[in-house]
Amino acid sequence: MPNSGESRSIMLLGNEAVAYGAVEAGLEFAAAYPGTPSTEIVETLFKLSKEYGFYVEWSTNEKVALEAAYGAAIGGVKSLVAMKHVGVNVAMDPLSTSAYTGVEAAFVVVSADDPDMWSSQNEQDNRWYGVRSYIPVLEAGSVLELKDVTIEAFKLSEKFKHPVILRTTTRLGHSRAPFNIGELVKRVPRGSIIKNPAKYSVIPAHARQLRRKLVERWLEIEKYMDTAGFNWIEGDGKYLIVTSGLAYGYVKDALSIMGIRNYKILKLSGMVPLPRRLVKKALDGVEKVLIVEELEPVVEVFLKSYAYDEGFSMEIHGKNLVPLTGELNLNKVCMALSKFFEVEYPYNPIKVNIEDFGLPPRPPVLCPGCPHRGTFYALRKAVAKAGVKPIYNGDIGCYSLGVLPPYNMQDTIVEMGGSIGFANGFAHILSDKEIPIAIIGDSTFFHSGLPPLVNAVYNLAPMLVLVMDNRVTAMTGAQPHPGTGFYQDGRDAPVIDIEDVARGMGVKHVIKFDPYNINEAVEKLTDALEIVKEQRIPVVAVAVRACSLYIDSIARRKGVERPLYSIDLEKCTACGICYNAFSCPAIVPLEDGKASIDPTLCVGCGECVYVCPYNAIHTIRPWTKEFESLWW
């Protein structure tokens, strides 16, 4: 078996393997903003940093994180920054010039792409960012290679003193596989002051010089890719398969399942820049080529151009056989290979028409006890009371789930900070009774809500900015942020208070409420909407109540007994408000339509008590001081 003899292998999540690889490579500084599928990289680094001495931080957004790591690398410290693919868009300004300046020590940018959009708004292929920014891109050939390719990214960056993009994907980062951990050495970062404005102060005169040097360096990097250990040619035959990144694993498995022999593989884990000489060598004597790559035809575009330059005239297939959308899988790769080699497709699934089964959908929903549920519920009532017509400009976070029934309260969701941003447009084009309501989370507010809020104050944009403050970055697993009051390791941190920030930015009316107290929430939100309607100015409302999933995990860990509620079936009229209009997952209908609380799911928030018009929900175990002390 492949691992026999490797007795000490441990199962790691791909993202954990990236973290271990970085530490093995001598990491000294790491920064990130959480985002699926990248988050576990830096969470793992936090755990390792205690023992190995390097610096790690959650930064306020990806641009800030990238600048911190870039700065540290200019200061001579081996650095890593990690983010999801769309986070790279936020960080693109400094990243675009980073190849011009280069760095003094390794600078690795992890871009965690999300083919198939498991938890993202698009499936952009960030290999293109490498192409347009002169930054080499590495991607593991399978999850098994992830740690080694991470180490290679540091080596390449260190050698050329040049930024490197390490591209991972949801599939790579969220798969578990066996890894052997190498030696980890303690490194406390110690950088130095750099005085080299010709290199690091990119005024036009310097930039022109740097650009010329960059183009020369790019050719050197291309040569390195020709012979680097992560790129190779294997097998022999008239048919060549070119694989980019994780396509290699699928191709290896597909060839073996289909029993195909006599093929040659050009395996590329470094595909930007495309290694010209290695490609030429692979194309020599070949009759037909298939390029297998996930998403965009990055390798295909360059390879076809090189083949033309070198005078090759064989058939070259790519996106005509491998789908452009969605993530790769064995079915897609087997289908492409079956057409390319003209052999039979190996799978014969039972024909299932899933529509016939009448299955109810099961999208992710707000958790039991989620404070956002109360806020949405109260906001709907307040909108009706204030007599306004809202457009709900939503944002990225758990509250995006407000787009679903029964709430239907997210009319736009595009990107981080887009809620207040879009409201800045709607504010000036609607009638007086039509009000934009920007719904944004606490972490997203710090990430990119500040500039559009300043804009709203300055340009007198009437809107309600509703900050749903659940104290942590809940969507990605409860990471702390500048408003939380503690760091990832539990130490106290300074608190940047959202109300103070809003007031400091010139917002005249800032209100705060507890969404667990739904009656009070309705009242305060109604007042806020009336101010917006009458005074035509932005108003900020902050709903403060910690993420129930997070509190529940603490309660379980500390053995604190949770409060519990139950339905009085005598009083319950089977109206369905609690499980339909309020839609708490812990409240389920009985056969007669009356409600029932599932004690294994109930977290004891008590929100439903306010929701029931018949006072049919009563307390079995009340809130104790101990339980209350878990919240802040």
């Binding site: 078996m1 098994l144 578990r176 066996p178 064995l330 299932v352 899933i354 109810p360 999208p363 999933l549």
Partner: protein
Amino acid sequence: MKYCDILVTGVGGQGIITFGRVLSSVYNKRGVRVMMAETHGMSQRGGSVEVHIRIGDIHSPLVPVGGADVIIGLELIETMRVLRYANKDTIVVANTRMIRPALPKINMPSPDELISKAESLGIKILTVNAHELALKAGSALSVNMVMLGGLVALDILPGKVTKKDFLDVISGLRMSEINSKAFEMGYDAVKTIL
């Protein structure tokens, strides 16, 4: 040794990832390559979850459509949702329990109807009331271990792994006594219907 493709499905919070981690740990301890893919982006919020586990000389973690050797369903609606992974030789082991999605005005199908629909397509399906067994073992949360026991009882896992290999790993989990008991009960339940 041939490779083995296992698909596990259910609802976020049912311990599907723990199921996969125990199984992969058993094989990794033996030096057999195992890969496990998780769809856990938003799964902790009660959505559908699939865990793919591939054992053997493989390079990619996703079980292909029509390629599962075994499908383990911790929840019946979700089991039906992944039947595209089955072929005529696939064995499906399903918990008969359904969990209502937290959406307004949902019509729930009947478990018997779902199972007979699947059977009418030629799908081999073994059913276990894992929820009841888990409660008997001591916790509704150990449904995952009941179903893991059921998988081992099929005797189709590669590499001659034994019940004891699994119990050794389970002994390192939280609530290990309840979980071991649940595993044994699931094992026995499937053995009796095989």
